[in-house]
């Protein structure tokens, strides 16, 4: 080992003028403006999303012009006026552009918002009346993964309306049935986010903080022969180096039957990017330098990257436990498909190939850990969708009771499934801070996010459908290989979802699904929006459209013919209660004037339809048994009921009665759960929304909620919240009835007054009643919890996956044009109707749909993680992994149909994931309609379209 060479930093003193103030600073020559703003000035409203100038989250104004602060050296900024999000407010209030963002629902996770606002402010300063096209051009360097962009365009277009006072716009589709539920109120966290004040995990700087960095495997498969960390340890500033031998032998993961990951690789590395060692040092740079000084000797093993190849005899074995690299096998057969196909007049079979896409939230994963109570209690901040599962998994790996861990979930800058599992960052910061007695912070770079993976499984699918000549489905059969990557993660569940969601839309008398999740030497795949279901749904819907054309039946008609109704038990034994699927079909056909267009458009113009639906919360928790350290549990057999409540809430009224604090661990990740839950709470209590404050970030304070996955929060969290609120109300009305000497049943709440029913009677202000309650009885607190109904699902293996208290339904129509000479697709208009039950916040519902449409459309035509032949990702950044920009996003019309879900709070169910499902097929169909050729492999790139067209030309 060569002696440690400490590179010499070049420093200088500079004066930066930021938001009108001058700051003398010592900076390194190579420090970017972004790092100086964040790390030295703690102006953390400016976000680090990609650090390569591709996402725009770090946009600041330099002499009034928008710039990526990650691509400017601080040393070059002397003498310039730097304006950050913290500096644009006027007179202590919001800039009109900020107010427009808040009121137009232009903010979801909020992580892109600062940069987006800065670009918008720069635009309106030089062009106060921009057109939509000018806005889309000026803001196209700011990527947003949540909103689908349309509401941002609207906000900027209407910014002048907010120059004086707040003028909330009229909201389309607000319900008038309730006071708070059904109203498009601005999000409760919108102002925090639009001002840059919201502190995401990476924005937290604890005192005496250390920083960690991971050494990743450079090879796809190999045995670790030797690791020499001595040079890294000798580097001044390095406090700790960990390798596989220093971390617990306990495995972790997501699916309890297949915990197969170690915090750091123990013997083998299984993909490029696998975690080999970690360094903890006084700053990130020192930790990075130390990584270069770790010497690892590998014995490289043959690797396999294709799931079909991986199952063949003689293929490299990735895990000894998984014979032929087959991680999970599913064989579900309901009815008799052979009989069903024999009864059909038309049987078609086609192969489809999905794509490996990546969630790409704009916020990278981050964790910070420290120990309080003299080292007794771990405090872990994590940018996670599932604080409880992180809690459970960290307890398992550290082998301490859950009670000794406090999980903190700061605002999360988008997840879409990639933050639905415990990360190496969560575990490494916990372990390192325990050993070091100091807080430890770790943040992924954009590239590391791709190396960690957990994106969507690429599925190789063969679908077969049998139809009568009238178009009725007689049988459906699918055989799917899922490319799982090197670890299980969610994969078992993914493999089941790939089959279980197909029979939820149409009556399918005979159904068989064979699924094989296969391991390959690539980063593990996980759960992404629509989990396992979007690609099979794409394949099924495409095949149905092909066959409808063959039979001469309109694609909308064939769907109406087969669509299920409310109160249906599906062929795979899922119980659907509310279902307005048919209404979504007729509405979307009406809105788009489908019949006038389908088959009647000129070449190069297409219209297509796709449908989909999803669970409204998984019927069963991911792990079995009670909430308890896993090592203390006896093997727990599967029981057909929820063992513990999946959502729990506490409603606590302030002692003076004027405010309500709602406590629930529900994870706000941009989908709007904090707003929706606050609305449900206010509605159930009979108070205005502004009296409700929600606290969701601290597991010490907030009772357990399983988190933001399987589209569960509105229904499950909502039910718990409503029950907790009703518990409060019962106590409150009880005390007033005692005071007035009447029965509680004679009382009701109206306009924040407790009144005798029938009017004319006595009345007391809600707040006064609550204050009285505290003076007489102590804290006014209510609790509520929700368990999914008992007995969900069939009795076959894997029946639990796909069960849910409720199901959503949706139909989408895509209108596109295709350049027939180059193959380029322009998605022009997208129309979606969704059955989400009662929309608690219509604006939030439409925002979720619009985001799902743009994500799904991008997934269909441009997104894919690409590997070279050595397992290296060729596009691990947002320059080369293409997600739609504001200029690519179509116009979107999102509508909801009248629906009421009896199991949901005020009739509500999900929208977040379900809206993704129809998109892929609708886009594929529109392209086929425009070009005359079907491309059955995702993404449907210009190259593939052109090749398919040439192939038919002969």
């Amino acid at each position: 080992m060569s002696p440690v060479e400490i590179p010499r930093d070049f420093h200088r003193l500079i004066v930066l003028k930021v938001n009108g103030e001058s700051y003398p600073l010592a900076v390194r020559d190579g420090d970017t403006l972004l790092d100086v703003l964040r790390d030295k000035l703690r102006l953390t409203g400016t976000k680090k999303g990609c650090d390569l100038g591709a996402c725009g989250a770090c946009t600041v104004l330099l002499d009034g012009e928008p710039r990526n602060s990650c691509l400017i050296l601080a040393a070059a900024c002397e003498g310039k006026e730097i304006t950050t999000i913290e500096g644009i407010g006027k007179d202590g209030g919001l800039h009109p552009v900020q107010r427009a963002f808040v009121n137009h629902g232009a903010i979801q996770c909020g992580f892109c918002t600062s940069g987006m606002v800065m670009s918008a402010v720069a635009l309106v300063e030089r062009n106060p009346d921009p057109t939509a096209a000018e806005i889309r051009e000026a803001l196209s360097g700011n990527l947003c993964r949540c909103t689908g962009y349309g509401r941002i365009v609207e906000a900027v277009k209407n910014w002048k309306r907010y120059e004086s006072a707040d003028q909330p716009p009229e909201h389309r589709g607000d319900l008038k049935k309730h006071d708070v539920v059904g109203r498009s109120v601005p999000r409760v966290d919108a102002v925090e986010k639009v001002t840059g004040r919201a502190k995401y995990a990476a924005d937290l700087y604890l005192q005496n903080l250390l920083h960690g960095k991971i050494l990743h495997s450079p090879i796809p498969h190999g045995v670790i022969k030797k690791i020499d960390t001595s040079a890294a340890e000798a580097l001044p500033g390095v406090k700790l180096v960990l390798t596989g031998k220093d971390v617990p032998d306990i495995t972790y993961g997501v699916s309890p039957a297949r915990y197969d990951e170690h915090v750091l690789a123990k013997e083998k590395v299984r993909h490029v990017g696998d975690e080999v060692a970690a360094v903890f040092a006084v700053d990130e740079v020192t930790a990075e330098r130390a990584l270069d000084l770790i010497d690892v000797e590998y014995e490289e093993l043959p690797a396999v990257f294709d799931p079909v190849e991986a199952t063949k005899e003689g293929a490299p074995v990735i895990h000894e436990k998984s014979k032929n690299n087959i991680n999970t096998v599913v064989d579900h057969h309901f009815g008799d498909v052979d009989k069903g196909f024999a009864e059909a007049d038309l049987v078609w079979e086609e192969e489809f190939v999905g794509n490996h896409v990546y969630q790409s939230p704009i916020e990278p994963h981050a964790s910070i850990a420290h120990w309080e109570d003299d080292g007794h209690t771990l405090v872990l901040y994590s940018s996670t969708q599932v604080p409880h599962y992180v809690h459970y998994m960290v307890a398992r790996v550290l082998d301490i009771p859950l009670g000794r861990i406090r999980v903190m979930r700061p605002p999360v800058g988008g997840g879409f499934g990639v933050k639905a599992a415990t990360t190496p960052l969560d575990l490494l910061t916990a372990l390192a801070s325990q050993k070091l007695g100091r807080p430890v912070k770790m943040v992924y770079t954009r590239k590391e996010m791709y190396l960690y993976g957990r994106g969507r499984h690429k599925q190789h699918m063969r679908f077969r459908i049998g139809l009568t000549k009238e178009g009725r489905i007689t049988a459906v059969q699918s055989r799917i290989f899922l490319d799982g990557g090197a670890y299980t993660s969610f994969g078992v569940i993914t493999a089941y979802y790939a089959g279980s969601m197909i029979p939820t839309l149409y009556y399918i008398p005979n159904y068989r699904y064979e699924g094989f999740r296969v391991m390959t030497n690539k980063p593990a795949c996980g759960a992404m929006r629509g989990h396992g279901a979007p690609q099979p749904r794409f394949a099924f819907e495409c095949l149905l459209n092909m066959m409808a054309d063959e039979l001469g039946i309109d694609p909308v008609e064939i769907r109406l013919l087969n669509a299920i109704d409310a109160n249906t038990r599906t062929r795979n034994e899922l119980d659907v209660r509310s279902c307005e699927f048919k209404a979504t079909l007729t509405e979307v056909a009406r809105e788009t004037r489908w019949k006038e267009k389908y088959g009647k458009l000129p070449p190069g113009h297409g219209i297509g339809i796709g449908c989909g639906g999803f669970v409204s919360g998984a019927g069963y928790a991911i792990y079995r048994g009670q909430v308890q350290r896993s090592s203390e549990k006896t093997p727990h057999p599967f029981v057909k009921r929820a063992v513990f409540p999946h959502a729990n809430a506490i409603v606590k009224v302030s002692e003076d009665g004027t405010a309500v604090v709602l406590l629930i661990l529900a994870a706000e990740i941009g989908q709007g759960s904090s707003t929706v839950l606050s609305q449900l709470c206010a509605e159930a209590l009979g108070v205005s929304l502004k009296r409700v404050r929600i606290r969701t970030e601290d597991s010490d304070i907030c009772p357990l909620d399983l988190g933001a996955y399987s589209s569960r929060t509105t229904l499950m969290g909502g039910n718990a919240v409503v029950r907790a609120a009703k518990d409060v109300l019962k106590k409150l009305l009880g005390s007033v009835s005692e005071l007035w000497g009447c029965s509680p049943e004679a009382l009701e709440v109206k306009d924040e007054q407790i009144v005798e029913k029938g009017g004319e009677g006595r009345a007391m202000a809600w707040a006064e009643a609550a204050r009285k309650y505290f003076n007489d009885n102590g804290p006014l607190v209510g609790t509520g919890w929700y368990k999914p109904p008992e007995g969900l699902g069939g009795d076959y293996k894997g029946a639990a996956v796909g069960t849910s208290p409720a199901f959503s339904f949706g139909s989408s129509v895509c209108e596109c044009s295709v350049d027939l000479e180059t193959g380029k697709v322009r998605i022009e208009r997208f129309t979606d109707y969704h059955d989400c039950g009662t929309p608690v916040n219509p604006q939030a519902v439409h925002g979720q749909v619009e985001g799902a449409v743009v994500m799904g459309a991008g997934e269909t035509i441009m997104e894919e993680v690409v590997y070279d032949e050595k397992g290296n990702i060729l596009n691990p950044d947002l320059h080369h992994y293409l997600i739609m920009t504001m200029k690519d996003a179509p116009e979107i019309m999102s509508g909801v149909v009248d629906s009421y879900e009896p199991e949901g709070p005020y009739g509500a169910k999900e929208v977040g994931e379900g809206a993704t499902l129809p998109v892929l097929a609708a886009v594929a169909h529109a392209i086929a309609n425009a070009t005359g050729v079907w491309v059955k492999e995702l993404p449907i790139t210009p190259e593939r379209i052109l090749k398919a067209m040439r192939a038919t030309e002969g």
Binding site: P7, R8, D9, F10, R12, R28, D29, G30, D31, T32, D51, L52, G53, A54, G56, T59, E65, P66, R67, N68, L71, I72, L73, A75, A76, S119, A122, E137, A138, L139, S140, G141, N142, V285, E288, R289, E821, T822, G823, K824, M862, V866, L874, N875, D877, H879, H880, L882, M884, T885, M886, K887, D888, T941, P942, E943, L946, K947
Partner: protein, 294 residues
Amino acid sequence: MKLVDVRFHAPRGLEEALALLEGLKDARVMAGGTDLLVDIKQGLREVRDIVSLHRIAELKGIEDEGDRLRIGALVTVRELASNAAVAKHIPALADAARSMASEQIRSIATIGGNISSAVPSADLPPPLIAADAGVELESSRSARRMSLLEFFTGPRETVCLATELLRSVVIPLPPPNTGISYFRFTLREASALAVASVACRITLKSGVVDRATVVLGAVAPTPILANKASRSLLGKNPSAELFREAASHAKEEAKPISDIRGCVWHRKELVHVLTQRALAEALERALGKAEVAE
């Protein structure tokens, strides 16, 4: 070498900058930095010293010198996109500038940087080459001038020495009846690199093509002239048929590679389509110019 390890130099004048380049080993000139800083962050370049040009006034501004435009190396892409003289004389250059990257990047990235980085998919070189642009290089010892076409030697490789910097781009004003156009194909609408690009120039004389240039971008190690395509147009009456034939030559002359943005086959197809479209637009501009001249 990490970005934090670099030494930053911000000379106040050209002379000082050139002296620095002479004296430093492994120094890199930085104009906007949008390529250089990304490369350093990704570990693609070893750089010890960065010589930033941002203070050097001599390198800024667009001069209309009567028979030519002189564009300083530090002129940003955004300036090119909105400059009146550029829009008037070489609208294809404004088209190329507008099509690039994003608003934020366009306001940092410079013409000098876009050329000097010599990325094969760069957008400014094809229309500049079609317009017969030359570049002026300067070191503390000498100055030289060459056509932009000669400047490029390979992907990310140019004739520019470590001690030299690109000072300005000089574009002769196109003669009457000349039209220049630029078309590119990308996989998304913004912040995307060209999969293939074509710039064309047509000068008409008495209704026939007197001069023609077809430049291809992103389909060879450097921007290249499609000579056969250009020659096939000479002396002929412009027509869709003629342009299709020229495009077929261009398709043959393209030497693309397959990468994540596109395969050889698709790139060649794109050259075929883009050449026809670019020629049609160049013709339209040439005719438009003629009308103005009359």
